[in-house]
Amino acid sequence: MLLSLNRMGPGRYALYSIGVLVALFLLFPILFIALLSFGSSQWLQFPPPGWTLKWYRDFFDDPRWIAAILTSLKVGLCVMALSIALGLPAAFALVRGSFPGRVALRAFFTSPMIVPIVILAIALYAVFLRLGLNGTFIGFVAAHLILALPFSIICIVNALEGFDEAIEKAAIVCGASKLEAICRITLPSIRLGIFAGALFSFLISWDEVVLGIFMASPSLQTLPVKMWTTLRQDLSPVIAAASTLLIVVTMAVMALAAFIRRRSEP
């Protein structure tokens, strides 16, 4: 009854309108920035008096923005690799292990998602200052990895729980070694979970800003940190261009994820 549209009566028009309004509310700032980034007004007039690619040119002509993109990419890829390297074995332990405290360990591994990031940021800032890791590449990777790890562990745990261990055992009975069975049977079967974990880990790192604000040095900044410091000064249209590029990257990653998902479905 209330779960089918045509029998709901006039109430459904209220639902429709809220749905449309929320969809517009969610899309509005994103479309707005994208349009603005092509507008010629330095003062972000809307509708723009004319159209230009000037802000994109400014963006790509500034070596600091390019350096920030490269830093973000490098950090993101390292975080992605390490997140899988640590998360994959941890997921195996959580699913296959039979030790006391397994549930508690699982909760602990997801705890970085709960701790407010600003607290983590100042805690790391204090320790990194002492260790000389502030504003270093390793510092960025370690900090982002804390946030990315829960996502890769959750994704792989979910995939592993859906995989029948008997298939792996069958391979061992047929003469494969344990390692062979895992590498040639189990890992290929849970590869979607691993991909998803890797993708999430990259996106977490790519978007992370709070940890970066505290750590960044003028010489090493990720893209969001560079945006933050620029935003603190003025609302320059170059940020609109940078934002639009980020939105395009997000859409590309989402499309990739959808493509992988579609291919996996029979």
Binding site: M1, M8, F46, I119, I122, P224, M227, M254
Partner: protein, 281 residues
Amino acid sequence: MRSTLRRGRAWPLRGFGPALPALVFLFVFMVAPLAVLFLRSVTEPTLGLGNYAELLGDATYGRVLFNTFTVATVVTVVTLALGYPVAWLLVILPSRVARWLFAIILLSMWTNLLARTYGWMVLLQRTGVINRTLMDLGLISEPLPLVNNLAGVTIGMTYIMLPFIILPLHATLSAIDPAIMQAASIAGARPRQIFFRVLLPLSLPGIGAGCLMVFVMALGYYVTPALLGGASTTMLAELIAQQVQSLLNWGLGSAAAFILLTVTLILYAIYVRAIGLGRPQ
């Protein structure tokens, strides 16, 4: 083969080894730094709970706590009011349309936080599109103060939190068997009764999960309040950052951080109690 298996079973930490690298990493980079931070909150400038007393007793800090809880509450209520109908729509719309709505929600959720906040900064400013449109329509004569105050923070945070309430609500609503609603209808209940006495109670777990998640996230949010808020509307996360970064007052900053962490953990414990750890079905 059999003997190794048996030996393996006797070992109480069977299968624990692979978790070790991740565990060590989180201990070194998360637990230890947090522990150091806590020590600073009770030792700087003097040993004792002075920092906590100052935070909870002083009117200025009281104001910050009040701002934080007010914004978190308002954001939670507004996201629920907007998110529930959307989650409901996602369940009952034809899947072609629902897929588009889903894509919009995910796009907004995964778009860079700063990009979205920047959008709102531009939209809400004195000479921004919203004020201009309202003035051109003759609805207002002076630009509304929409930014650098709690209104701006609330709008920006509502925008960011909406997906986080829609998704759990959608999960709950889509698990409800439509036959139950049909049964209520056959038994003579009117739509309004069905909503308040069947659908709403059945969706309470999703409402609880979504609201707690949004509330907890809103309490500790830093970026949006810092950019859309003003000097007089400091929230807790900003206070922590200010104390540490600009005033180098580590004792007070750490104490504020631990008050925030304690509230967060208590709310999270309630969440786990009520909903469970979210084991996949």
